[in-house]
């Protein structure tokens, strides 16, 4: 895959402090989910600001799409349009008096005409599930809503890369799951996602690649299972092991589990333990997973499906699916971690329905398929409304 962002031996120091980055080199491949993990003052935010062209390295170079980044204003405009940055504190980012004006800020400054601006704003707001919030002033929004508006403001510029500084800070657990799921959804539509976080649990299960930083330098860059397997590096970066990893290593040390591949999440850990425990026991026949694309919704169909009782559990992934469920008064059992929970239910012989939209249908199928390959499970997946043609994109 092509590298979309690259830092080559970059150094940076703020005028009033020691060096924030001390010769860091790294490559971000297109379409990946990357988590920057490290203690306070490791240089995560500095690196993020550098990727957006806000900070210019004192030495070394940043490459965007294979080209060295230039710092004249037309080039910067281009970079900033393509690489969207969401700040940690939404109050720093939301400066306009209304939600509409804030989301429209990027498009207006890109010189879009009024109708195009309006279209992009309403698309971005509906994507984050805040249609109808246009006239609200930011100080009348909750923390999670502010975060969504901040994301919408960046989304309205149609970036290829989205960088989010601590996307889940100050959010309640359900709120952060929803944000992370939205980031998954954006990633499955082809955008490269980069987040910074202190939350090792989050980085461990969400990211494709983890970039462990400490004191302005790169400690380790690789898949989460590799990065978090290294106890020494992790504690050097003042982080701790994700709980799943810690339990796995503990059990492995006691000889309860073996193998080289640590589990990524509760689901995988449960499976490992179950396979160990149930050797010789008769297996239950797995349940089914039904997928339903709300973009092609014929809602009568889903009603009759639900009434038939084929699925014991219902989950919704993504904003438009959740909104559809709310509109149709469908009671949801899962609102986050939906695929994993459905697989977990399927392995215990129960069936579930996942409502979702757009590219997330394929994403879910791939995810379940990958699971089956790995664990030798046979979960049947069917898309309820596969035959209806997809709506044209916006």
């Amino acid at each position: 895959m092509a590298s979309i962002l690259e830092a080559r031996n970059v150094r940076y120091s703020y005028s009033d402090g020691p060096e924030a980055l001390r010769g860091l080199s790294t490559t971000v491949e297109e379409g990946k989910k990357i988590a920057l993990v490290g203690p306070n003052g490791a240089g995560k935010s500095t690196l993020m600001l550098m990727f957006n062209g806000i900070l210019r390295p004192t030495s070394g170079e940043v490459y965007f799409n294979g080209q060295p980044m230039k710092y004249d204003s037309p080039s910067l405009r281009n970079v900033r349009r393509k690489v969207g940055l969401v700040f940690q504190n939404p109050d720093d980012q939301l400066f306009a008096p209304t939600v509409y004006q804030d989301v429209a800020f990027g498009p207006v400054n890109l010189g879009y005409p009024k109708d195009k601006t309006e279209r992009y704003v309403s698309y971005a707001l509906s994507y984050v599930g805040l249609s109808g919030f246009e006239s609200r002033p930011p100080h009348h929004l909750s923390g999670g809503e502010k975060k969504r508006v901040a994301i919408a403001g960046v989304l309205a510029m149609e970036p290829d890369v989205m960088i989010l500084d601590e996307p889940t800070s100050n959010l309640d657990p359900a709120g952060s799951e929803e944000i992370m799921e939205m980031l998954d959804e954006l990633n499955s539509s082809g955008k490269t996602m980069i987040i910074s976080t202190h939350d090792v649990e989050l980085a461990y299960r969400w990211a494709d690649l983890v970039l462990l930083m400490e004191d302005g330098k790169l400690l380790h860059y690789g898949p989460p299972s590799a990065v978090f397997a290294d106890h020494g590096l992790v504690s050097k970066a003042r982080m701790k092991l994700p709980a799943v990893m810690e339990i796995y290593q503990e059990l492995k040390g006691r000889g309860v589990l073996d193998g080289d591949r640590p589990p990524r999440n509760i689901l995988e850990l449960t499976n490992m333990l179950e396979t160990r425990a149930k050797v010789g026991c008769p297996k239950v026949s797995p349940g089914k997973i039904y997928l339903y694309n709300v973009d092609r919704a014929d809602l009568k169909e889903i009603r009759s499906f639900l009434d038939s009782g084929s699925a014991k559990y219902v989950g919704a992934m993504g904003t438009s699916a959740k909104m559809t469920a709310e509109r149709e008064k469908i009671r949801l059992d899962f609102t986050f971690g939906v695929i994993d929970k459905s697989i977990l239910k399927a392995t215990t012989g129960q069936s579930s329905l996942i409502m979702t939209s757009g590219g997330m249908v394929e994403h879910a199928m791939r995810r379940i398929e990958a699971y089956c390959d790995e664990w030798g499970a046979k979960i049947q997946v069917s898309v309820l409304n596969a035959s209806v043609p997809n709506d044209p994109e916006k």
């Binding site: 429209a104 100080h139 009348h140």
Partner: protein
């Protein structure tokens, strides 16, 4: 949290009435109050505007009463000053105090009364605007009135950061009160200075981050205004015109009337 009138304006019962119409009504009534030569029209305006604010816009009476107290005390003192200071016209009351001959002349009584009524009328009209028309809608009107863009942008950014800094000021204040920072006069001097100092630095840092935030989203000197399409209702427009005309007529008819 913050007791700013804008919060009430966001939720008042006249929120969906065209902001232009409300502005015309409020400003028109202010102008009539200022130019009315007798106190009758301003007093009528004060009564009607208060009634509209309380009954039609459904602003809590308690809040409205609290709001009125501040300008009311101020204007009462000023009228008293005028009453004694300008002392012209045939005296209606005269007395000796502190070895000085003090008196209230008929003319100054009339001037004081006129000022009192104008201020009342003007204030209640202003309260009508402040309590029924959210700032964000006034911005789009200002834009269409060709207010310079810089000034408009400055105002919109100030608007946003007023709320951010207000919250911070409250938080710092609670943190100080919690640790008895306002227990003594000396303490509260220190606390107040520290609060304003911290607030200034926070504002400054906020400004630096705001610069980055605007830059990172391709700021090119353009900040759009938000326009909510509220249809101008015919009967509403007619009612406003009728009302203003009636007050103007009263002001004209009572031009020579003196109450005292």
């Amino acid at each position: 949290m913050h007791d700013l009138l804008d919060d009430y304006a966001q939720t008042n019962a006249l929120r969906d009435v065209s902001p232009r119409l409300k502005l015309v009504l409020g400003l028109g009534s202010i102008l009539l109050c200022v130019f009315s030569p007798s106190p009758v029209a301003p007093l009528i305006a004060a009564l009607t505007m208060s009634a509209i604010t309380v009954f039609l816009a459904k602003i809590p009476v308690r809040l409205y009463r609290k709001l009125l107290i501040v300008p009311l005390t101020f204007v009462l003192f000023s009228s008293l000053a005028i009453l004694f200071v300008t002392g012209s016209g045939e005296p209606i009351i005269a007395f000796q105090a502190f070895g000085l001959g003090l008196g209230i002349g008929r003319d100054s009584a009339n001037i004081a009364l006129l000022m009192l009524s104008r201020t009342l009328g003007g204030t209640s009209s202003l309260f009508f605007i402040a309590l029924t028309t959210p700032m964000i809608e006034i911005f789009s009107i200002l834009k269409s009135l060709r207010l310079p863009d810089v000034l408009l942008e400055l105002s919109m950014l100030i608007y946003r950061y007023i709320f951010v800094l207000m919250d911070q000021a409250m938080m710092i204040n609670s943190a100080q009160t919690m640790r008895l920072g306002h227990a003594s006069l000396r303490g509260s001097f220190n606390s107040f200075s520290m609060l304003s100092g911290v607030l200034f630095l926070r504002a400054w840092e906020q400004g630096e981050r705001l610069m980055v935030a605007m830059d990172s989203r391709c700021y090119d000197g353009r900040l759009d205004v938000f326009e909510r399409r509220t249809p101008i209702m015919l009967h509403g427009t007619l009612a406003v015109i009728g009302y203003l005309a009636a007050v103007a007529a009263i002001a004209f008819l009572t031009r020579d009337l003196r109450l005292i």
